[in-house]
Symmetry: C2
Subunit: 195 residues, 2 copies
């Protein structure tokens, strides 16, 4: 038995996913060919099929991995305590996590319509789970009387849309650093749910 571990596949596999993610983000899933991905990795197109059964599954696995990373990272970072502190933590976490993985965020939102139905359902469930994390915070704050929110579910969608929007304009080498961006958005979030 030869080349059981630590072989090329440990290197090529991640590189396939990295290249696919970058290309999907730049040109879109449908506009990127398996040959383009292979060229970026430095192999022939056929070699990609050692790492994914097909193009569709490659997309799905990228999105699933991203959504599960997102949930796991938040569950690790989420503090206990008052709703206001939890909301601030969520706001800053969302901005930091999403700006640090712009390609994955972009693909996970833009390519939903290119998922096969069963894959779409799985990703939507994960997305919904994340939204519910914020919704719970808003409900807790509303129940405690520290937030004024008529519709917690809709407010959570509104806030997530606002926060994710940072990705459309933020550049790491721009005028504002992440700390300033966090402060600006937290100020708006805090006030928007204030009593």
């Amino acid at each position: 038995m030869a080349r059981t571990q630590g072989s090329h596949s440990d290197i090529t596999g991640p590189r396939v996913r990295e290249a696919a993610l970058a290309l999907f983000a730049q040109h879109g899933f449908a506009a990127v060919s398996m040959r383009q991905i292979a060229r970026a990795v430095g192999v022939q197109a056929g070699a990609l099929y050692n790492y994914t059964p097909d193009k569709q599954t490659l997309l799905y696995e990228l999105m699933r991995a991203h959504m599960e990373d997102l949930l796991a990272a938040w569950d690790r970072a989420a503090p206990a305590g008052a709703a206001l502190e939890r909301l601030e933590a969520f706001t800053r976490f969302h901005i930091r996590f999403n700006t640090s993985r712009a390609d994955a965020v972009f693909v996970s939102y833009m390519e939903l319509r290119n998922l096969a139905p069963e894959n779409f359902k799985a990703i939507e469930r994960l997305r919904r789970e994340y939204e519910t994390r914020l919704e719970s915070i808003l409900r807790a704050g509303a129940d405690a009387g520290s937030f004024a929110i008529a519709e917690p579910r809709i407010a959570s969608m509104a806030l997530i849309a606002m926060l994710t929007g940072v990705n459309t304009w933020f550049r790491a080498d721009g005028r504002l650093d992440l700390a300033s961006v966090e402060a600006i958005y937290w100020d708006m979030v805090r006030k928007s749910v204030a009593v």
Copy 2:
């Protein structure tokens, strides 16, 4: 000279654009073929080239028309007066206009990366113009002391992202009607910029 006006082209032309818009919104520009569009219209693929020089221009013209409609509609609807009233008008207008043209909004955001560079620049200019309309309102309110906004440009991006997010969940036959949605969002917008 025969069939100079009021002929098939007055009917087929709009139908081509309608079919293309709906298909682009559903499957994405790159995933939709000229033959699919032709089938939806009820003609052969070759006939489409009486109405667009190529697929790229078809996409560009759809996006350009949408952005110019948006700007013209706002400029007609925009009231004079205090910043707070102008901001409320903008909030309600944005929600109403965007939910009434979900396909065009979706395509105009999602397919930016499929535009040829010069077309991209033209659409980006129009988008920037619209963002500046809101930014001006925020600056006026900040100068007058009625808003507390450190970064008007960024606040305008944040608010537009939040408002456009309505399209991801709003359904005309859902639990909430548009008036309720407008009220919920206006409440959040108003508070987020409050002193």
